[in-house]
């Protein structure tokens, strides 16, 4: 019973609810009668916002995030660790062990992606028929909005959260991240945000989709505030996560680990982190202004009062385009990291691959207006942005070249992680080439806002990122948990998912070309067959993920076959440590003498983690 008292998840939920009510009543006390339109709309807008903010603050206090600052204020000595060795309870609270945070992220993101996936299934149920309405038209828009927003918000940290947090210190030979408490904070902010987004159904939902355009967002039900607060929390989480990664990678590399010996995955995390730190604050700014427009009636985005809807569009997409590269780059990095292991060859063109990652990072800030080609931006801008968008496919191509040449003349094994990485080439090729259509302005006039662009980004994001997400899971879960995942079930999952995924999204290019706009609940009768086909395939795709969960539970809960320290025969440093990795990673800080891709070259592993025995601890 004593264990329940103290700063843990239960306390956090209780204080969160208390904070909610405090915020709610504070807002009523402050602004009750002074803003007349609150009475007209039957909501006190400000109270909802302050209630959520109060709830988040209460939640974080309950978890214990203020303990350390207060302790330092009272004169206690500095410390980098909290609750690092206590057993299973540490996964449910504030823990500064980066490996615990990594696994928390994996499970937490998994739960919310499951919710996003349910919403996707509901969308496809609605689109089975162009005339019959399963959900009321307004609710359908909320479902579309929750699906997009949840997926984007969660998958932004989809690789850096679980795998960045778990692996970066190990890969660079450190014992922890640069800012362990902030690391834990990024996770809990994301979780709080996810819950807040789901509560939008109690406030009437939001009709804007994940892009949240003004002035429609000013006009919406209070459910819109849930979206705004969720994305703002995601923005804060992203900024802090990126900051932490950059600080760790730049300052905490072990001796001998020069920039040219860094695993390509670490380069991918670094470039993604740079994008996060530079782009996310713009989102927070855009959303704050939207919140002010909604609550205290400013007019940043309202043209008839001096604002402009273009302001929101440009601010959002200035964030939004780097955002999609935040989603894509980790995928590139994982593919290039895993391919050498299963082709038994060094990563071909290491410098070119790094140049590709850096090129994408730099260029991604110069292309955002391609989302706005027909929106009435000045005509002079369109050729420039068409050029810059076309140019960004050049560094993207470097990843393809390096991956392909790594496979060339190798000794290829088709293990499950490798299968997912190979599928990446297929999916991202289609996604990337259809992006060429969209970047060409005349072609974009046909396809903007249609299912073509929707299929394009599902191919790059789901076909690119989510496939590599699964590759990373199958590759690293044995290291993280110490148990193997069933290989045969993994292969069934792969083929099921790959076929269902392509069957779902390939026809949508045709639907878009034939004129079906996005986010619409009805469509022309001639597209009925395509939509039924896509819906059935989508259900199969959903079932594939259920099958994956079955494999996961079976392997990790029931079968529990211990995994060797190095099941894949990789030369990377994390495989020289026992599975799961012990609490402080290394007994002695390793010294690096090369990169982890020394296949076919003389010499053993590239680092010497003295005192680390092989096999399960």
């Amino acid at each position: 019973m004593r264990r329940l008292l103290g700063f843990n998840l239960l306390t956090a939920i209780v204080l969160g609810i208390a904070g909610w009510y405090i915020g709610w009543y504070a807002a009523h006390a402050i602004v009750g009668p002074s803003i007349a339109y609150f009475a007209d709309v039957d909501y006190n807008e400000l109270s909802i916002v302050l209630a959520y903010l109060g709830g988040v603050i209460g939640f974080l206090i309950g978890l214990g995030f203020l303990n350390y600052p207060f302790a330092r204020l009272r004169g206690y000595p500095p410390s980098l660790r909290e609750k690092e060795t206590e057993g299973i309870g540490r996964y449910f609270g504030l823990c500064t062990d980066h490996k615990v945070v990594g696994i928390q992220y994996l499970v937490g993101i998994g739960v919310f992606i499951f919710v996003g996936g349910i919403n996707a299934m509901l969308i496809r149920i609605e689109l089975l028929s162009p005339t019959h309405q399963v959900f009321p038209a307004g609710t359908y828009l909320t479902i579309v909005g929750i699906h997009g927003t949840m997926m984007m918000g969660m998958m932004t940290s989809g690789i850096l959260g679980p795998f960045g947090n778990y692996l970066i210190p190990i890969l660079i030979g450190a014992r922890r991240m640069a800012f362990p408490r902030i690391e834990a904070l990024t996770f809990w902010l994301l979780m709080a945000g996810g819950v807040i987004l789901e509560t939008t159904v109690f406030f009437g939902g939001f009709p804007t989709g994940w892009t949240g355009y003004a002035p429609l967002n000013t006009q919406s039900n209070p459910g819109m505030d849930c979206y705004i607060i969720f994305f703002a929390l995601v923005g804060v989480s992203m900024t802090l996560l990126g900051l932490n990664m950059i600080a760790t990678i730049v300052t905490m590399r072990a001796p001998g680990l020069t920039w040219t010996r860094l695993p390509i995955f670490v380069w991918g995390v670094l470039t993604t982190a740079i994008l996060m730190v530079l782009a996310a604050p713009v989102l927070i700014a855009a959303l704050s202004m939207a919140l002010l427009d909604r609550t205290i009636q400013t007019s940043f985005y309202i043209p008839s009062a001096g604002g402009s809807s273009y302001l929101y569009e440009n601010l959002f997409w200035f964030f939004g385009h780097p955002e999609v590269y935040i989603l894509a780059l980790p995928g590139f990095a994982i593919v290039l990291e895993i391919l050498p292991v299963f082709a038994r060859k060094p990563l071909w063109g290491y410098r070119l691959a790094v140049a590709g990652l850096l090129g994408v990072t730099l260029l991604s800030f110069f292309v955002w207006q391609h989302h706005l080609f027909v929106s009435g931006i000045n005509g002079d801008l369109r050729p420039f942005y068409m050029l810059s968008t076309e140019l960004i496919s050049i560094p993207t191509g470097f990843t393809f070249l390096c991956g392909m040449m790594t496979l060339w003349r190798g000794q290829i094994r088709y293990s499950v992680p490798m299968l997912f990485c190979l599928a990446w080439f297929f999916n991202f090729l289609i996604g990337g080439l259809t992006g060429v259509f969209l970047s060409d302005v005349p072609s974009d006039v046909t396809t903007h806002g249609s299912f073509f662009s929707m299929a394009h980004f599902h191919y790059t994001l789901m076909g690119g990122l989510v496939f590599t997400f699964f590759a990373a899971i199958y590759y690293w879960v044995p290291k993280m948990t110490g148990f193997q995942l069933n290989e045969r079930m993994g292969k069934i999952h792969f083929w099921w998912m790959f076929i269902a995924f392509n069957s779902t999204f390939l026809p949508l290019f045709a639907a878009g070309f034939l004129g079906q706009p996005r986010r619409v609940v009805t469509y022309s009768e001639s597209l009925h067959f395509i939509n039924v086909w896509v819906s059935v395939s989508a259900f199969a795709l959903g079932l594939a993920q259920v099958f994956f969960l079955v494999n996961l539970v079976n392997s990790l809960v029931f079968k529990r076959v211990p995994a060797p320290a190095d099941p894949w025969g990789s030369k990377s440093i994390e495989w020289q440590l026992p599975s799961p990795v012990p609490v402080y990673n290394f007994t002695k800080i390793p010294v690096f003498s090369g990169d982890p891709y020394g296949y076919g070259e003389a010499g053993g592993p590239v680092a010497v983690p003295a005192g680390a025995p092989a096999g399960r601890d």
């Binding site: 009475a39 709309v41 039957d42 609710t139 479902i143 309202i302």
Partner: protein, 227 residues
């Protein structure tokens, strides 16, 4: 019990909990912001179907008919027992003549687009307001519209004067309170699913008057299910 049995039990419980949560979520979404469907009774005149549609528009729908949104403007329809119900999804017969009577208890808000101030898509492109035949009203006077864009049907609804005596508070509004009567006739065609909406920015407090009740089925938006 053996550890394996505990695990099995735990997994079953977890799956059941997830299933229940998903079920609750989906059912919440299916019933959120919808409207019950109302089948309008059909009579046959000279072998053709004829329908009488009697609806009213009120300034505030009241806690009885909408506990969560008592201050929303709303359309109501009168059922066969003479009671006003809040339903905006109506089943009508195909190829029928529809005589519509609208009782309006709400004041003027004004049309954003003056073009919508004249009746269109109705017989003679005219409407009868309090017994007088009109082919246009001043757009600033428009209180609501009844519009079915797929039919090209637009009918602006004349307002109750701001200084009228005995105005109705919360719905359901009795005919003894201040109101205007608007009548018109239109024809349904083939079977289909046609949305109708109000075009006047009458949602008080929302930006551009088009939020809240103007974007919720069951208040100022609905469907004609022609079958």
């Amino acid at each position: 019990m053996r550890p394996r049995t505990w695990k099995l039990l735990g997994t079953v419980v977890a799956v059941a909990v997830v299933g229940v949560l998903v079920g609750l979520y989906v059912s919440r979404l299916t019933t959120e912001a919808g409207s019950p469907s109302y089948t309008v009774p059909v009579k046959t005149v000279n072998g053709k179907p004829v329908v009488d549609l009697t609806i009213e528009t009120v300034a505030a729908v009241g806690p009885e008919l909408s506990p969560s949104h008592p201050d929303y403007v709303s359309y109501l329809i009168r059922n066969t027992e003479g009671k006003w119900v809040r339903s905006t999804v109506w089943r009508l017969p195909a190829h029928a003549t529809v005589h519509v009577t609208i009782y309006n208890f709400d004041g003027a808000s004004g049309l954003r687009n003056a073009y919508l101030a004249r009746p269109q898509g109705v017989d003679g492109n005219v409407m009868i307001v309090d017994g007088k035949t009109l082919d246009v009203i001043s757009p600033d006077d428009a209180s609501h519209t009844f519009a079915v864009p797929a039919y090209g049907l637009i009918v602006p609804v004349a307002p109750v004067a701001d200084d009228a005596k005995n105005q109705c508070g919360y719905a359901p509004c009795a005919l003894s309170t201040a109101h205007r009567t608007i009548q018109f006739t239109f024809h349904t065609g083939n079977a289909g699913h046609f949305r109708w909406q109000c075009f006047v920015p009458c949602a008080a407090g929302w930006l551009y008057g088009f939020g809240g009740p103007m974007q919720t089925i069951g208040y100022m938006d609905g469907f004609l299910n022609v079958a």
